[in-house]
């Protein structure tokens, strides 16, 4: 019998073999602490030799009950919890959450605050995609890419540290504004970062884009068709990799994204390689947005000054005026005052569409807060995507999906 190594079809071939050739299926548990699962995802495989015949993702190892926690605290107290959803892009989560609550209050933040949120969200996108590329590199055996990506990410984290006081858990947004204004000289540093970053990004991408080993691991592997991508509710680079040009920054602009000129990167075939290329291109587009936002950063207030029942008064007023002191106590203990009603807002986060559905019965505490996390929806395609692939290709597929379990399990 001639040996046939065209593996993706071998499952189908095995199915056509006569009964006596049928071998016993093996079950294999990948994770929850497998290095290529990017967190605590566990996949229960059923294998025929090395070919996956069934894949069952088991999630929930990082479940902390964030949605329930949100019901027990004021809107501002929940901001640190949004850091811990997609912990590779906390600044983007902070902004998305704050905008959702502001939509509930029908509150318009000043242009400066909007521009700050755009810059921080896009920097978070670059940092998240750098991590995604680096980790994907490791998954398919390219350590160098990871190291170069981390060098750049470190520069971004230094910028975040200067802006927010923390590298990782930024907690930068407040309802009606941001935690503090931009420190002096910070925008120049962002501009300098963009200038030096683009050539380095080209170097990093050149390590993979035309690399035969990488192409062998990614081209034609894990193809998600356009119809499947839409049917499974994928979003972000995973959806755009399949050729669907959906980007909420363009389709439903928020936080002033309509002022910026950028392109939406889309793929053509929807394989792992396309998803990788889309992420690379998105970083370049993010830098374009950041440069425009830095160039026309508006002056003025960085918080909604007239929202006296939502944003706490400035510190020097609290220390000198009795009324402001009382106001500070009210906003902290009662929470930012929201009208009754419900709102759904979704933002284009690095991993995809991050949505917040908030039901309010008035007051400073949400009645219910539902988080639509992109990683959760993106992982829903795994049972379909893994079947027929080699176990080693599953590693490549997982890397190209670039998910974060912190937000999947939330």
């Amino acid at each position: 019998m001639p040996t046939d190594f065209s593996f993706p079809d071998s499952a189908a071939k095995a199915a056509n073999l006569p009964k006596e050739f049928e071998t016993e299926k093996m079950s294999l548990s990948m994770g929850p602490s497998h290095p290529s699962t990017h967190g605590v995802l566990r996949i229960q495989f059923e294998l025929d030799g090395e070919v996956v015949t069934k894949a069952d993702p088991v999630i929930g190892y990082l479940h902390r009950g964030d949605e329930k926690i949100a019901e027990n605290m004021t809107y501002n107290q929940f901001v640190p919890y949004t850091d811990r959803l997609d912990y590779l892009a906390p600044l983007a989560n902070n902004a998305a959450y704050a905008i959702a609550v502001e939509r509930l209050a029908k509150l318009e933040v000043p242009p400066r605050c909007q521009a700050i949120r755009v810059i921080t969200s896009e920097l978070a996108r670059v940092s998240s995609h750098l991590m995604g590329l680096g980790a994907y590199g490791i998954d398919v055996g390219a350590w160098t890419v990871f190291m170069y990506c981390f060098t750049e990410r470190e520069k971004l984290y230094t910028l975040f540290e200067k802006l927010t006081g923390a590298r990782f858990t930024t907690s930068y947004s407040r309802i009606g504004g941001v935690a503090r204004d931009l420190p002096p000289g910070w925008l120049d540093e962002v501009g300098a970062f963009c200038t030096q970053f683009l050539p380095i990004l080209d170097e990093i991408l050149a390590l993979l884009t035309r690399n035969k080993i990488f192409l062998d691991r990614s081209v034609g592997v894990g193809v998600i068709s356009r119809a499947d991508a839409i049917a499974y509710g994928l979003s972000g680079p995973n959806l755009r990799g399949s050729g669907v040009a959906l980007d909420l920054r363009k389709d439903r602009p928020y936080s002033g994204y309509e002022q910026y000129d950028f392109d939406v990167a889309v793929g053509s075939t929807g394989d792992c390689y396309d998803r990788y290329l889309v992420r690379g291109e998105e970083m370049k587009q993010s830098i374009r947005i950041i440069r425009q936002a830095v160039a026309k950063m508006p002056g003025g207030d960085w918080f909604a000054r007239d929202a006296r029942k939502i944003f706490a008064p400035p510190k020097d007023k609290v220390l000198t005026s009795m009324e402001e002191l009382i106001n500070n106590f009210m906003i902290v203990t009662e929470g930012p005052q929201m009208p009754a009603g419900e709102v759904y807002f979704e933002a284009e986060n690095p991993k995809g569409t991050l949505g917040f559905f908030i039901v309010s019965t008035g007051g400073g505490v949400p009645y219910r807060l539902k988080i639509r996390s992109p990683s959760f929806c993106n992982l829903s395609i795994l049972p379909k995507l893994c079947v027929g692939n080699l176990v080693s290709d599953v590693v490549s597929i997982l890397g190209s999906l670039d998910f974060v379990m912190g937000e999947c399990d939330r």
Binding site: Q77, P80, E154, E161, S171, N211, V219, K250, G280, L319
Partner: protein, 180 residues
């Protein structure tokens, strides 16, 4: 909508061949071999801490060495992981110039195993008494050791400048008969 479809041209002969790729790789490696170092030898070299860094929370004294906290418990209320515990008490008798403040913390504990360094306590404090300062590496041999009590918090915090001296102003106003 402006879209850009990522291009994926097929590999050229030299990109598929072994040797040219190895040489290209060597060139990149050589370039980085002589580039300046990007890492720090950590415990010996320490990164610069920017102003406004959110390190370990501490209690601070005013420039006259007086306690600032008035035990309003707003930080205890706002703390998302409930790391702060305050027992309110009276102002000690040996501080007559602060007698009109009426309240001071009898005990002030911050459980550093719970603290998430979010900085909400500093943000809401109406007395500028609690600050997240530059310390970032904490360790201890037991859980008890990781709870910072009041003395330790003041030791970590030290003295910070005060723009307002609000209680002194209040006392002066009262002495001028400006009572409400």
């Amino acid at each position: 909508m402006a879209t850009v479809t990522v291009s994926r041209p097929p590999l050229t002969l030299s990109e598929r061949a072994y040797l040219p790729q190895i040489l290209a790789g060597m060139r990149i490696t050589l370039k980085h071999l002589f580039a300046p170092n990007v890492t720090l030898s950590y415990p010996e070299q320490r990164p610069a801490i920017p102003p406004g860094y959110r390190g370990v929370p501490t209690l601070v004294m005013d420039p006259h060495g007086r306690e600032k906290c008035v035990s309003c418990q707003l930080c205890e209320f706002v703390c998302p992981p409930k790391a702060i515990r305050i027992t309110p008490g009276a102002v000690p008798a040996d501080q007559p110039d602060r007698a009109h403040v009426e309240k001071a913390p009898a005990a002030f504990d911050i459980d550093m195993l719970r603290c998430i360094y979010c900085g909400l306590c500093q943000e809401v404090c109406p007395e500028e008494a609690i600050f997240l300062q530059n310390d970032y590496s904490l360790s201890g041999y037991s859980r008890d050791e990781m709870v910072n009590h009041k003395d330790r918090l003041y030791e970590l915090g030290g003295t910070l400048p005060d723009q307002h001296f609000k209680w002194d102003k209040k006392k002066a106003a009262e002495e001028h008969g400006n009572q409400h």
